[in-house]
Symmetry: D2
Subunit: 338 residues, 4 copies
């Protein structure tokens, strides 16, 4: 049974990850890290784990982690993540990186969007993007997987079937995405105080959100054509969930029924993906690794609507899919049934 | 001082309307109607009015209303509204109709979208659309004003400056709108139960929402060109507020600064409209008659972002603007300062 | 593997029950009932089950249920429940009743609080109350278990250790309880509309809530003394969770540390109960079968604070504990780890 | 027209205060202070004021304030407040202090609960407590008013009628209070992040909240007997509003109808207080200066239920009542109608 470390264990993503790993009978969590002093028990940081799981959260070096774990889930901030991962890999630890550090192929693009020089540029472009529905075959034998962003997964999974089949224009795609507040992390900031974002919806990062180049890179790779999107994220007054409402122009005739069939065929047999007839709500997938998607024909556009739980299918759940594939387990272990 | 009646006094819109009218020193509310039996006091229906205002809500005929009131605000459902208004006008009562009954010009279009034959087709096409920022000069001497829909006002006010100036393509405009749950009314339905729509966002009425033809009709009138929009409303887990995120294609060169200047110039001197630099949140206008709008240039699109309170600037507040104009008062009476 | 039926499958409790049962590897759900016409698939009623579980919800007679199932979870309304259960038991089906029908021992008391004559009075007083932490030994060989109410479990589990040990006064206990809105059920009502209960907290059923006699009956049984409580439930703007803040008078000296020790000793080894040091939040137990409790000494009172998820530990989770015990399985099957 | 300064203008209380003052035709806001650099316009701090009010927020000395203003509303943190107020008074500025600095009479008690030495102990015990419903006659001619705390006002207004008349036991009173999150202020803290307190209710400060000695001091003064309360505040997932559920023991016979009559008589003619028959919800008073209260007889207790808006009747609204009295205006100016 693989020994697993969770790096950066204090955030919401790490919390959900630990809950999923506890349900996975083929995993032993042997280390959890934080920079907080005093090695606090994980249940003091995440009280929901009280009585369920207790491990000290320690400030460990990559070497210490390598002694204790075969796999690491890295929930550190970008740049901090790559700095550690390089050493973990040297120490023989296989890694699923939940940060953005290894998602983009080009160090220049990384620097442009993340405003720091990449700490480990050699691995960029060689790391597999961990979206199993698109890259399943390439994940199993990797030592490092770049786990996708939450908006990114929502957008890519909604669009890939149409782009890959050349059924929509690859440019001018509009992605209007709405996310719960947990996506903004657990660091105290004015903008994510309850009384600031409760009872309010607003856009943010218009034209400048870092998931935009990631969406474009992967969809370009999938479709073989230069994909260009306008991506607008919104902060929605709810804990979790993402809804992407996507507007794309069909190439040639594509009635609604055919568009639905495209989705159904593409995702046939996928354990976590449901092509639904009714309009999806984020609540239908909250707390699960499921992805619901549908499509409507509205005048000259396809309107594609897709939902997932940003902390699970958008982060920790797909990370465990990746881990299961890397470890040679059933991909759904710990994730189904929910 | 005009005597005013509120028809259909039990809903959220009527409640906000009454609060605003109570702040208007030039109004006396002399009648409130409901079909509920027993003539309940308004404070038993809206407990927030306890100690502030009390009037029996009665099941009154148009004739009875005409005896008691000079003006009527009609908050009845569509079709029911027109049936009453015709008689009110005959009785000499001037009316602001908050239903959709007199907004569309064409009885055929009305029937297509509302699925009933219009009860008073002669007045369609002759009734002034009560958006003072666009039609102020025509409102004062009317006996009947069609008060705009909430999504409609948001969309029209955001787009009119650009369409009127011929600066954006009139077709293919995408309006992705997010509304609080109060917009769905106060009748008990599964879909608006707390535990159904809390912690969830979803689209509804994709391609079939009744505000779409209203938006197109008014913007076509404003611009002189056939306007065509794709309108997607979303139910957002909050009481009130609408955010419209609008994607339009500029015609010719239109840098962001110029686009902002277009808005500022168009709305110079408007008491309720602010062209803002930062991205607007619905919370910035909650409880007020204000409208905040900004614009961003994102790749080939203008992204216009606009917010208002659906119950006030999207319904009761603009209704009082219309009333003030009709009664010859300062347009802001009861609405400013807030 | 036992075949299991879920009666009254359309509500929130049934939904959570099905999710838990799907995680229980020793269960096969073979029937789900509703009075809705057309035998709708369960995923059309609970879209979150799409792709995970699909079974037609049918309008089945007790005889039909008995042919298909060995166990039944009864999520029907009170009175309707007892009418069916009697026949199920005759048909050899073992039952966990999630309604209130078999919780009270005295048909007169039932009639007084539920305003209907009890349909099956003979079984009252003979049915085991399904709170495993108190009555575990008596559950296994039963054919019918009365599953506890949500407020009831919270209150009883918080108070039983002190009352059983005679450490607090059995009368004058104040239970100030706060519940999420899902506790009010899934039938459309004005009072549970989003825009009514969002952003608001209020008490309801002061002095008249039906869980009060249930709490008193069980605690009287546990303590051997007549227990008397003042119970005030509150509707809290959140989906789920109950917090009970309980004020009781210690008999004799009982410092805070000793009071905590009483709880810890009483619940040592219980898989779902954690005696915590910090003040519990409902969020710490949301989505789980866990119960967190602590106690403070404040002037002349013990203040006991306890939380659980009303739909799980307060309903469906404890129902599965009872089922597991009846079926001879590990009590935590399907419930841990979460 | 008095010139008014708002000190500490960046918080939620100051925002509501400014909104109320803008509605007060007899006030001119001439200064707003903050320690933020760069003298930001108030609308950049509170975007809801955009287009309605704009004044630079400056880092002003007491002397500068005294040059510009006749009155000051002090929304600074405790201890910081008293340090400034002393100088303001010397400069001839009359002050309503919204901090806790002048509420307690005894510097020792202040130090015990606030953990700092009082900066201006001479004024303690001489400053009038600004609850107009109790101390109206003493407010008008003061230069300094100690504006009450939010929990405090709720509790005192609910209990004073019974305590003053000697109708309930003055000790052992239980106040179980539930507040919206805005009460915790606008400084970023983990505990008030949206994703922490959304969908959760919890108690805090059990036995140690600073409003407890304030409640006891005022009620002791009102009743002439030593009053002793157990006060438990709860953080409730909503922006604003406080509900206090209070349990008190009647002395002698006091049926429910009589208890209601006690409240009605005590508050007859009060413009902001309504004694209601139905159970009050915080939403009934949100955005207003109103206070709703009722009482139930439950077994041996009176259960008193009271609601107010913590930012208005619990802070800024009562501050304007005090100001109006001090300035010789109608007490309701700017506050009614709402």
């Amino acid at each position: 049974m693989p020994r697993v470390a969770v790096l950066g264990a204090t955030g919401y993503t790490a919390f959900e990850l630990i809950r999923i790993l506890l349900r996975n009978p083929e995993v032993q969590i042997t280390a959890a890290t934080t920079r907080q002093e005093g090695s606090p028990p994980i249940s003091s940081i995440h009280p929901a784990l009280t009585g369920q799981f207790d491990l000290a959260c320690e400030d460990l070096t990559p070497q210490q982690i390598a002694e204790r774990a075969d796999f690491a889930f890295c929930c550190l901030p970008h740049a901090a993540s790559a700095a550690v991962i390089s050493e973990l890999l040297d120490g023989g630890v296989r890694v699923v990186d939940l940060s953005a550090d290894y998602r983009l192929n080009d160090p220049q693009v990384y620097q442009q969007w993340y405003k720091v020089e990449h700490p480990d540029p050699e691995r960029l472009g060689k790391t597999v993007y961990g979206l199993p529905e698109l890259y399943r075959d390439r994940i199993a034998d990797q030592d490092l997987i770049a786990n996708p962003g939450c908006y990114t997964s929502t957008s890519i999974l909604a669009l890939a079937p149409f782009l890959k089949a050349g059924l929509i224009e690859p440019t001018g795609i509009i992605i209007d995405a709405k996310s719960g507040v947990s996506g903004a992390g657990r660091s105290p900031k004015l903008g994510t105080l309850y009384a600031e974002c409760n009872e309010s919806i607003s856009a943010y990062g218009v034209g400048s959100h870092r998931h935009q180049p990631e969406i474009e890179q992967v969809l370009t790779d999938v479709s073989g054509k230069q994909v260009d999107v306008v991506f607008t994220p919104h902060l929605t007054p709810m804990d979790r969930g993402i809804l992407a409402t996507i507007y794309a122009k069909p190439l040639g005739d594509l009635p609604e029924a055919d568009a639905l069939a495209v989705l159904r065929e593409f995702y046939a047999g996928e354990p976590f993906i449901s092509v639904v007839k009714d309009l999806p709500s984020t609540k239908h997938v909250t707390g699960t690794n499921n992805f619901h998607v549908t499509v409507r024909r509205t005048k000259g556009y396809l309107t594609i609507l897709a939902v997932l739980d940003n902390l699970i299918k958008g982060a920790s759940g797909v990370a465990v899919q990746n881990f299961n594939l890397m470890a040679g387990y059933n991909e759904t272990l710990g994730l189904l049934p929910v």
